[in-house]
């Protein structure tokens, strides 16, 4: 509406900003409105007869009183942070490798990196069951090598498996922005550092790494965000000890039908994630995260 008004003020020539109206309206209805409803519902009352609009703070009280929720929330943040760190450790050298390649080779290895991510999230998580299971590849190889005599049971259905699964599923979102920001570094700067007598490690620590920080931050924010909202991976691989906040939210809708409590839990997760975004996002411009710092 405001958009329309100013276009009119600007005269009949420039109506082009109006082109954003359909998309903006769509996002207001299907992006913003559901979030507002969720927020409102977190103050409503759910019973076996359904959810009514009676205002209450009980949902938040239940969450505050039961230590399980806080515990799982902290566990979720911890897992997300560890997964982010692991992805950074795994992804940075990979990004460096890609940025060091020449044209044709680089495209080949880039496609090779993308390929697994062009497959459903569910499939990419599911592949770890036959990897880590009792009669899976890891156990079979270890037994063939004579390192173990019995298949290991602890490879799957715990926090470790959740970590592996999440790193596997999200590593591209770390590697790609780092690669893009490494690729953007002016080669002359690195050569200049070398000319001035800096060794390769010093050049990396003082020139390359600082210049790749936008990509590192983008990747970290992205992976952390994605990991906080995980549901499939902990559900399939995590067992009971590798549970995350998503696995506490979902049953409120699929099992107990306590929509209001589920809404309150969701609001808490959204707030925590947005808080993290505000803290770290100040250094990264939000759109850079997706276009790749």
């Amino acid at each position: 509406m405001i958009v329309a008004a100013t276009a009119k003020v600007a005269g009949r020539r420039d109506l082009r900003p109006l082109l954003v109206v359909p998309g903006a309206l769509w996002l207001l209805v299907f992006g913003v409105a559901p979030l507002v409803l969720l927020f409102a519902m977190s103050f409503w009352t759910s019973s076996i007869f359904g959810t009514t609009t009676d205002f209450t703070l009980d949902n938040y009280r239940v969450i505050a009183d039961d230590p399980v929720y806080v515990q799982v929330l902290l566990q979720t943040l911890r897992i997300a942070a560890t997964v982010t760190a692991l992805s950074l450790l795994a992804g940075y050298p990979m990004a460096y490798f890609l940025a060091s390649l020449g044209g044709g080779r680089r495209n080949f290895f880039l496609v090779l990196l993308f390929l697994p991510f062009w497959s459903s999230y569910v499939v990419r998580t599911f592949v770890w069951l036959p990897m880590l299971g009792r009669n899976g590849l890891v156990n079979t190889v270890l037994m063939e090598m004579g390192l173990i005599s019995q298949p290991l049971d602890w490879l799957l259905y715990n926090e470790g498996a959740t970590h592996i699964g999440l790193v596997y599923v999200y590593t591209l979102f770390m590697t790609l922005p780092i690669y893009l920001s490494l690729d953007r570094i002016d080669r002359k700067l690195i050569e200049a550092a070398a000319d001035l007598g800096a060794g390769p490690f010093r050049t990396f620590a003082r020139v390359t790494f600082p210049l790749s920080m936008p990509g590192v931050l983008s990747g970290c924010v992205m992976v952390f965000l994605l990991a906080c909202g995980a549901y499939v991976t902990p559900q399939l691989l995590g067992g009971t000890s590798g549970m995350m906040f998503g696995n506490v939210i979902a049953p409120q809708y699929t099992v107990t039908n306590n929509w209001a409590l589920g809404a309150a839990l969701s609001v808490i997760l959204v707030l925590v994630v947005f808080l993290c975004l505000v803290v770290f996002g100040r250094r990264v411009r939000l759109n850079d995260i997706f276009i790749g710092g």
Binding site: F30, P93, W118, S120, N135, L269
Partner: protein
């Protein structure tokens, strides 16, 4: 270059040797990384042909029966068809909305920064919340849950930000002088768009639509909560996974993967061509 620039400080061959060692290490690391990426997928492909009632090793001879079973299952085929149609329709609508928005974003207008944040919102909301939020929204509005009634708007909303973010840099970087020339020669705005802008950005638009298709085709968590009794391919795989570890599951995974990889690859090629020509 490095050798030429080395000058006097460290002896030349030492430097070169260090360079080579680092290069080898980097390649070794990349090899390990690709193993980590591909080993599980290759294992899945191998197991999809394994003639065994349990998913896992040892290998007990090759068979095509799991593929026959999957391709012969009407539910499976329906779920793939649903995913396919949903992907096409949501890709077309989302790309269109994103294209209009990207064209509008070339101008300045009030609340532009706020709108940018709203565009990013569907990506920033944690996945699981992105699922329940629509269950609540459509459930409270007492809408019927299904592929076309609830899953379609959810998919369009999910795909829209990505479509916008891939299109926007391309459209933003367009040389305006061409359009101005056309306008000066008397072309009306729509004609300028159709005859000048569209031919330039078409490959980018096609690539975006492909990208949007795969995002929709692979979408799971947001779909799970609003699909009701109907099924998309990833949701069908999920229900099979939760039910029992049926021996044909690897074949299902491979099929879903092959379809989205094929489309993505075509999209990637289109996008590579787009960035070369425009």
């Amino acid at each position: 270059m490095a050798a030429l620039a080395a000058g006097s400080s460290p002896p030349l061959d030492v430097r070169q040797r260090g360079e080579r060692a680092r290069r080898i290490l980097l390649w070794l690391y990349a090899g390990l990384f690709y193993c980590f990426l591909y080993l599980p997928i290759l294992l899945l492909v191998v197991l999809s042909f394994n003639d065994s009632q349990t998913i896992g090793l040892p290998l007990q001879g090759a068979t095509l029966r799991w593929y026959r079973e999957v391709l012969g299952s009407p539910e499976m085929m329906w779920s793939i068809a649903n995913s396919f149609m949903l992907g096409v329709v949501s890709a077309v609508i989302a790309t269109l909305l994103a294209l209009l928005m990207a064209l509008g974003f070339r101008q300045e207008f009030p609340l532009k920064a706020l709108l940018m944040k709203i565009i990013l919102l569907p990506i920033l909301i944690p996945g699981i919340v992105g699922g329940v939020i629509y269950l609540v929204f459509f459930g409270y509005g007492e809408m019927r849950f299904g592929v076309w009634s609830s899953a379609l708007p959810v998919h369009i909303t999910w795909v829209l930000p990505f479509a916008f973010l891939t299109l926007f840099p391309r459209i933003h970087g367009l040389d305006r002088s061409l359009e101005e020339a056309a306008a000066d020669l008397g072309a009306r705005p729509f004609t300028v768009f159709r005859r000048v802008v569209l031919p330039i950005i078409r490959p980018g638009v096609v690539a975006t639509a492909m990208f949007a298709f795969t995002l929709s085709f692979d979408e799971f968590i947001r779909t799970l909560f609003v699909i009701g009794n109907e099924r998309t391919a990833p949701v069908h795989l999920w229900t099979l996974l939760s039910d029992q570890m049926a021996p044909f599951l690897p074949a299902v995974g491979v099929l879903i993967t092959v379809i989205s990889m094929l489309v993505s690859f075509v999209g990637f090629a289109a996008s590579a061509r787009a960035s070369r020509t425009g």
